[in-house]
Amino acid sequence: MEPVATTFFFYLLSGLAILSGVLVITRKNPVHSALALILTLLCLAGLYLMLYAPFVAGVQIILYVGGIMVLFLFVIMLVNLERSQKEKQFNQQWVPGILAAVALGALFVTIYIKGGALFVRPEIRFPEAENTQQVGQMLYSNYMFPFEIASLLLLVAIIGAVVMAKKKI
């Protein structure tokens, strides 16, 4: 099936993503920030869908929105908001923030201008229907080793978290 109104949805989703991204760093209330972050992630998932990557989109929703953000909210709710608002905030560092933003923006602009020559515009080789299978095959053939390394890393992280959280094991 041919996609409908691609441009419209692209600008809608990216606009929403940027807007909610701004909300994430401007809201005082952490719960509101987290909700805006969820919106950003959902918009990204939509963009992945438009890139013919439904698997990545699905995983984005399951892992980031359904899993990680829930745990985020979980922690935020347990933390005493009133007391945390009185404590010193980290987002007051204007100068380094602006410097980082300018550097990143410069990078983007450079890539936009010179990128066409650097990266070959890829053909869309996989139609939508086979994307998931392709991802699976890639993960278990070409990228087997990095994939397993990543899972090992996650295991280490889990054990580390348990060790840090438990007062005595």
């Binding site: 347990l78 933390v79 005493n80 007391r83 945390s84 404590e87």
Partner: protein, 384 residues
């Protein structure tokens, strides 16, 4: 009542010591309007996540000053008031009071009256345990037993209604005996009830005793040792489930209990599951007592000779009976007039409730509900 901070003082709520990361301690106010507190009990819980670090009961919402009222009524006039304390076991309350005053007057109820008293009291014990079972199971999340027990309790209330006209606050007994002779077909009704309810008790047990979730929810929950039970003055099925074979009906028999053959069921672990088993066994023992009492009920008068105006001699008396919830005691002081000088009620629920803190420490919030249920408290009696 309105000042909640003052009543949680012993829970150690020093706010200044905490940073915003110390959020794992939470004060949860349960009640007085809460579905699982069996009336108007208010429990203030100090939680670490879901774990109970300590709790405090706030009671008194149903306080009606029963003991004060007693001082301004004659001995006879006060009799109906006692039914309003433990309203699910009103007959037991009446029995305790009547026997206490009889002791003070140094008279004894005739044997037939004692038999009727035993039958009604034991029926009431079954009704009380049924109500306990239904609400306790409901608290733990099993909805269905509630309706089964209420269906069967209804039969007991029907017998009460036929006997004395009231279903709940029966005022069945008078000082010196019973007001009413048994109605036509009383024995038949009671026997029919016994054969009706015995398989029903099996039915309750079928629903719960081997139900895995029930066992997991009640085993090792709210455990209290025999030593703690005695130290905290906990009586009744709770004490027996901890392994102390003590029942006033056996230890210091009153009414006609010495004439009957029955067992005192005990548990070993003192957990919620054992208390459940003990109460189920108690219902069966009660049926046994009722059967014997109906079979052996003697003929004769039902009222001892009591003068219309009761003036007990100056003195004090303490009399206690085994109510469904534990030791129900009456301490009556007479100054020789028609009105008691002081009536002190020793309510089993009140004293048992005191052990709630001990039983809940280190358990989870859900266990608090189970423990409140298993203590079988009636707030009317706690607050009087």
């Amino acid at each position: 009542m309105t000042d909640s901070t003052s009543s949680v003082s012993h829970l150690d709520l020093d706010e200044s010591k905490k940073t915003f990361l110390d959020a794992n301690e939470l004060i949860l106010n349960m009640g007085p309007q809460h579905p699982a507190t069996h009336g108007v009990l208010r429990v203030i819980l100090r939680l670490d996540g879901e774990k109970v670090l300590g709790l405090e009961c706030v009671i008194g919402y149903l306080h009606r000053g029963v003991e004060k009222i007693a001082e301004h009524r004659t001995y006879t006039m006060f009799n109906p008031y006692v039914d309003r304390m433990d309203y699910v076991a009103a007959v037991s309350n009446g029995l305790g009071y009547c026997e206490a005053v009889e002791k003070l007057l140094n008279i004894e109820a005739p044997p037939r009256a004692n038999y009727i008293r035993v039958i009604l009291t034991e029926l009431n014990r079954v009704a009380s345990h049924q109500l306990w079972l239904g609400t306790h199971a409901l608290d733990i999340g099993a909805m269905t037993p509630l309706f089964y027990t209420f269906r069967d309790r209804e039969e007991i209330l029907k017998i009460f209604e036929k006997y004395c006209g009231a279903r709940l606050t029966t005022h069945a007994f008078r000082i010196g005996g019973c007001q009413y002779e048994t109605y036509e077909g009383f024995e038949k009704d009671v026997k029919k009830f016994i054969s009706f309810v015995a398989p029903k008790i099996d039915e309750y047990e079928e629903l719960l005793t081997t139900n895995r979730i029930w066992v997991e929810r009640t085993k090792n929950v709210g455990t209290i040792s025999a030593k703690d039970c005695i130290a905290y003055g906990v009586t009744g099925p709770v004490l027996r489930a901890s392994g102390v074979k003590w029942d006033i009906r056996k230890a210091q028999p009153y009414a006609a209990y010495s004439k009957f053959d029955f067992e005192v069921p005990t548990g070993q672990n003192g957990d919620t599951y054992d208390r459940y088993l003990v109460r189920m066994a108690e219902m069966r023992q009660s049926l046994r007592i009722i059967q014997q009492a109906v079979d052996g009920i003697p003929e004769g008068p039902i009222m001892a000779k009591v003068s219309k105006v009761m003036k007990p001699p100056v003195g004090e008396i303490y009399h206690s009976i085994e109510a469904p919830k534990g030791e129900l005691g009456y301490f009556i002081v007479s100054d020789g007039s028609t009105q008691p000088y002081r009536v002190r009620v020793r309510p089993p629920s009140f004293v048992n409730l005191q052990a709630l803190d001990l039983m809940c420490r280190g358990q989870l919030v859900a266990d608090v509900i189970a423990v409140i249920g298993t203590l079988d408290i009636v707030l009317g009696e706690v607050d009087r």
